[in-house]
């Protein structure tokens, strides 16, 4: 705040302040003398009055001095300047109204949504503007739309456009709106009113440059904040089906953007319609993570988590992919039943995948003989263990198709395996052709141990928290060697024995994966099943490979308003995309992908026209848009760009003169009513 004088020379008049001082000092005294008998009492009276008059006289003089000073100040035309909050309407007669229709504007506050309040404010502004003013209207949600192609003076039309606005499901593109405003102003000055809640961490920072351009043209950006008091919202910001050894659980996060802790009643709805209620305590200004155990058998598809929030309902739900969960997910092909449990791979695999018989986790293996591979169903099974199967030849083509469509195969070797048969039957699946078995150590000696795994790789991520060292206890006496190969984008060596011999090698094929364990899963060639890492590793592999894909169905995550691309298998030339409400969504095929734009949250199903389902798309809101808290205000941005715009001025001359008159009057009244007795 500062004070300046428009007429500084007039300050010289302040010498007039001497007048009341002189008047005070040279007060008129009576001249006529009178002998008085009761002088004792007069002296007492004077003493009594002087105590009171001392204050009154000072006050009287102060009043007169102040009155003179104020009169002098009025002549000097003082002006008070201070920093204001929001610029006021400057009345250029050209107004562009920017209305925020992003998701956060659907927040209910005081019985109406913020957007309704913004519309009311904008309409009132239009009505109160004198006739002849010209308006432009821009609405901005995920994208900006200029509702008027040019400035118009048709108030009724502008009011109708404002009244038709509805909230959208995405973020606010303020930058685009500023660009549209600049286009509407066409290089001329004007006022750009922004009716927005200013919510979200990125909306305003992204628009700063464009705001600067508007201001640089000489126009004013006038924020009209439409705030909820206090800002509050509850939103499901993430939902993910576990794919690790924790597999079988849905993990979701609930964000609370309000000032108080809230208990949110939530519901998890699985693709087959099963509903799981759960309550989540979301801390104020923070997030809560909740886990829900998915039933042992559940259909695959897209599920939904919903947490009720009466303030802003549009972001209460989040959709997630759920793979096929249940007993039929893993198919173990037993190629070597063995005469004792310790000589049977299946024995160990069953116990590793379902230590408690499948009663408390989601994986119950289905064990079949090699002939059982004929029952391999890509829509039911997602992982096949080939455990020391002697001849996969009859099922090679089926396995290849299974993997290309998203299934996974884990191959373990043993005495039954012959390299030629595998190389012939599974060409195109093996990371590298088998060369033949080879001993690493004498059976009487210690097996050759594994090297420590790289826990940044997906199969070993859970072991970053502990248990990584247990891998060095796993060893093998004998392995199936592979023809020389090099790690590439598709082929990766995940584990090696000490000395560099590959132990676990993966290959991506189509949408699926193939893993080759170059030794046995029973105790024939290695000690793997007896080691501590065996069970968690097996669980992890089953969860990782089983959760990533659903047979031949592609699973895609997308954000509302964004371009969605669904990869398709070869030969698909036409697809039918259905939105959350079952309506058809316009999609195109581009480079083997179905491409469309999702404008609603929910589950989108992609099918071959009149054919099978080929993909699921879970479309969600941008979690960032649910954050209704204000991190930066338009006013602060504009204040940084053009500080002068925020400076307010007030001329004080009239007020000073008026106050001077009042003080003079007060002084006169004070003198009149109290008199000057001594």
């Amino acid at each position: 705040m500062s004070l300046s004088l428009l007429s500084p020379l007039a300050a010289a008049l302040s010498l007039l302040v001497a007048l009341p001082i002189l008047a005070h000092l040279t007060r008129q005294r009576p001249t006529e003398r009178l002998a008085y008998g009761a002088m004792l009492l007069v002296q007492r009276l004077v003493k009594r009055l002087r105590r009171r008059r001392a204050l009154k006289d000072v006050l009287l003089m102060a009043l007169r001095i102040a009155a003179v000073l104020l009169a002098v100040a009025a002549a000097a035309a003082p002006r008070l300047s201070w920093k204001g909050d929001i610029p006021t309407f400057e009345g250029s007669g050209r107004m562009v109204l920017l209305l925020d229709q992003s998701l956060s504007m659907a927040l209910v506050d005081g019985g109406s949504t913020l957007l309704e309040r913004a519309k009311a404010e904008a309409s009132a502004r239009v009505r109160s503007t004198p006739d002849g003013a010209r308006f432009g209207v821009v609405a901005f949600g995920p994208s900006s739309r200029a509702l008027t192609t040019e400035m118009t003076d048709d108030k009724n039309r502008v009011l109708a456009l404002i009244a038709d606005l509805q909230p959208t499901m995405g973020a606010g593109d303020l930058r685009g709106a500023m660009l549209d405003a600049r286009r509407l102003l066409a290089g001329e000055k004007g006022e750009v009113f922004v009716f927005s809640d200013e919510a979200g961490p990125s909306m305003i920072p992204e628009a700063e440059e464009e705001i600067g351009r508007v201001v640089a043209l000489g126009s004013a950006v006038l924020p009209v904040p439409i705030h909820a008091d206090p800002p509050r919202n509850l939103a499901v910001t993430a939902a993910h089906y576990g794919d690790g050894i924790e597999g079988g659980q849905l993990t979701f996060r609930v964000a609370n953007y309000g000032p108080t802790t809230r208990e949110a009643p939530c519901e998890v709805v699985l693709p087959d319609g099963q509903s799981i209620p759960v309550f989540v305590d979301a801390p104020a200004g923070g997030e809560a993570e909740a886990r829900v155990t998915i039933p042992r058998q559940a259909a695959s598809g897209v599920g939904r988590v919903t947490c009720d929030d009466p303030d802003l309902a549009l972001d209460d739900s989040r959709w997630f992919h759920l793979p096929q969960v249940g007993a039929s997910r893993v198919l173990i092909v037993d190629g070597d039943p063995g005469d004792t449990p310790v000589r049977s791979e299946v024995y160990f695999l069953e116990r590793a995948l379902a230590p408690w018989g499948g009663s408390s986790n989601g994986v119950v293996p289905e064990v079949v003989s090699p002939k059982g591979l004929g029952a391999l169903d890509p829509t039911t099974h997602r992982l096949v263990f080939l455990a020391n199967v002697a001849d996969p030849g009859p099922f090679g083509a089926r396995l290849r198709d299974f993997v290309r469509r998203g299934g996974s195969v884990v191959i373990s070797v043993g005495d039954n395996i012959t390299a030629d048969r595998y190389n012939a039957a599974l060409a195109g699946l093996l990371p590298s052709p088998f060369r033949g078995p080879e001993s690493l150590a004498d059976r009487a000696e210690e097996p050759v141990p594994l090297e420590l795994p790289d826990t940044s790789r997906a199969p070993f991520e859970p072991f970053a928290r502990g248990g990584r060292g247990a891998f060095t206890h796993i060893g093998a006496w004998r392995v199936m060697t592979l023809e020389p190969y090099a790690d590439s984008g598709d082929v990766r060596t995940l584990l090696r024995f000490t000395g560099g011999v590959p132990a676990l090698v993966s290959r991506d094929v189509g949408q699926g994966h193939v893993l080759v364990w170059t030794s046995s899963i029973d105790l024939g060639w290695s000690n793997l099943p007896l080691q501590a890492a065996f069970v968690p590793l097996t669980q992890r592999i089953a969860g990782w490979l089983g959760a990533e894909s659903d047979g031949a169905v592609a699973r895609v995550e997308a954000t509302i308003g964004a371009r969605v691309e669904v990869p398709l298998s070869d030969g698909i030339s036409d697809v039918d995309v259905r939105g959350p409400d079952g309506s058809a969504v316009r999609a195109t095929l581009q480079s083997g992908r179905a491409v469309f734009t999702a404008d609603k949250p929910g589950a989108y199903e992609v099918r071959v026209t009149d054919g099978p389902r080929v993909g699921w798309v879970a479309v969600n809101l941008d979690a960032e848009e649910s954050d209704v808290r204000r991190t930066k205000s338009l006013a602060s941005v504009e204040a940084a760009l053009d500080p002068e715009m925020f400076v307010r001025h007030q001329d004080l001359a009239e007020a000073a003169m008026g106050l001077s008159m009042v003080l003079l009057l007060a002084g006169a009244l004070l003198a009149a009513f109290t008199g000057a007795a001594t």
Partner: protein
């Protein structure tokens, strides 16, 4: 102190003519043949007699020690005492010289202490000259004192006068005596005095208190325009000694209401600071000061065992005298 010859002289002025000088040692100088003074003496005498006649009172009991039939007490003999009062029987029994003292039933020495300092000269007659005996503070005080003296003298009491301040008086201190000629001397003093000088109440009252007998009547007539805290202690000493004290508080009602039409510079004839006063603007405050002052004086007098008689100059004098000689008190009359 006036002797018999001087008294005769005054009596001569009043009735048969007078001698020109008072040849008694230590007496004042030649007595002027001032017809105004003589007229005032006559006027005072007449006024006092008229007023005294209007007062009908019963017998009053005066008390003093002296030679009488009723024994009062013993006192150690000191040189200068009348040896006729020695109690020879006590001398014979105890070899001690003591004097017998007796109580009389009729005589009560009366001393009127009259304040005629400069402040008493204010009022409508202004300052200077002999005051009018009616309508002025000094005249009211003089007339009141004369009436008091006349009334007690007619009842056979010895009367005396002590002037405080005042100018022109031949005698300012006349101790109580009986006799008509002494009364005339007192009247002459009252007739010739005019207000002036400073009161110095405290000093004067202390002097009088030290001299008057324990059983006597002292009447103080004053406007009390000195700080009461200074002179009230001296006044209280009368009460402590058993003296019958009657305090006549004389005031001009117009002065205590600050009845001035416009601003004036006020001053006291006794000196001191001159004060400009806008009377209309401060009358309310002045009333509060007056109330406090009157209460302070009255309370001080009563607390000292004296009797307080308010005497505004516009009050009928008979009523004041009746209160005075009866010893009754009346509520303070507020201006």
């Amino acid at each position: 102190m006036a002797g018999p010859r001087a008294i005769d002289a005054v009596a001569g002025w009043l009735g048969r003519g007078a001698r020109e000088t008072d040849d008694r040692a230590g007496a004042p100088g030649p007595i002027p043949w001032d017809p105004i003074v003589l007229a005032r003496v006559r006027h005072l005498h007449f006024t006092a007699r008229v007023l005294a006649d209007r007062i009908v009172l019963g017998e009053h009991r005066s008390r003093r020690t002296g030679q009488a039939v009723e024994f009062a007490d013993y006192r150690e003999y000191a040189p200068g005492m009348d040896p006729r009062g020695l109690d020879w029987k006590v001398l014979a029994r105890s070899d001690r010289l003591v004097v017998r003292r007796y109580e009389t039933e009729t005589e009560l020495p009366v001393t009127v202490v009259l304040d005629l300092s400069g402040d008493l000269g204010t009022g409508e007659t202004g300052v200077g000259g002999l005051p009018e005996l009616t309508g002025t503070k000094a005249g009211y005080a003089i007339t009141l004192a004369a009436t008091m003296l006349y009334w007690f003298q007619r009842h056979g009491e010895p009367v005396g006068l002590r002037l405080i301040g005042g100018e022109g008086a031949r005698w300012s201190d006349l101790p109580p005596r009986g006799g008509r000629s002494h009364l005339q001397l007192l009247f002459l003093a009252l007739a010739s005095v005019k207000p002036g000088g400073r009161a110095e109440l405290s000093r004067t009252l202390t002097e009088v208190g030290a001299r008057v007998r324990r059983r006597s009547l002292v009447t103080v007539i004053t406007d009390g325009m000195e700080e009461p805290a200074n002179w009230l202690p001296a006044l209280r000493s009368f009460g402590r000694r058993g003296t019958d004290l009657r305090f006549v508080h004389l005031y001009d009602r117009r002065e205590l209401t600050l009845d001035l039409p416009e601003a004036r510079v006020l001053y006291s004839p006794e000196g001191g600071e001159e004060l400009p006063i806008d009377a209309p603007g401060v009358r309310k405050d002045f009333r509060a000061v007056v109330e406090h002052y009157l209460g302070e004086v009255r309370t001080g007098v009563l607390a000292g065992g004296g009797q307080y008689i308010a005497a505004p100059t516009d009050a009928p004098m008979e009523r004041v005298i009746r209160n005075l000689v009866q010893g009754g008190t009346r509520p303070v009359e507020m201006p």
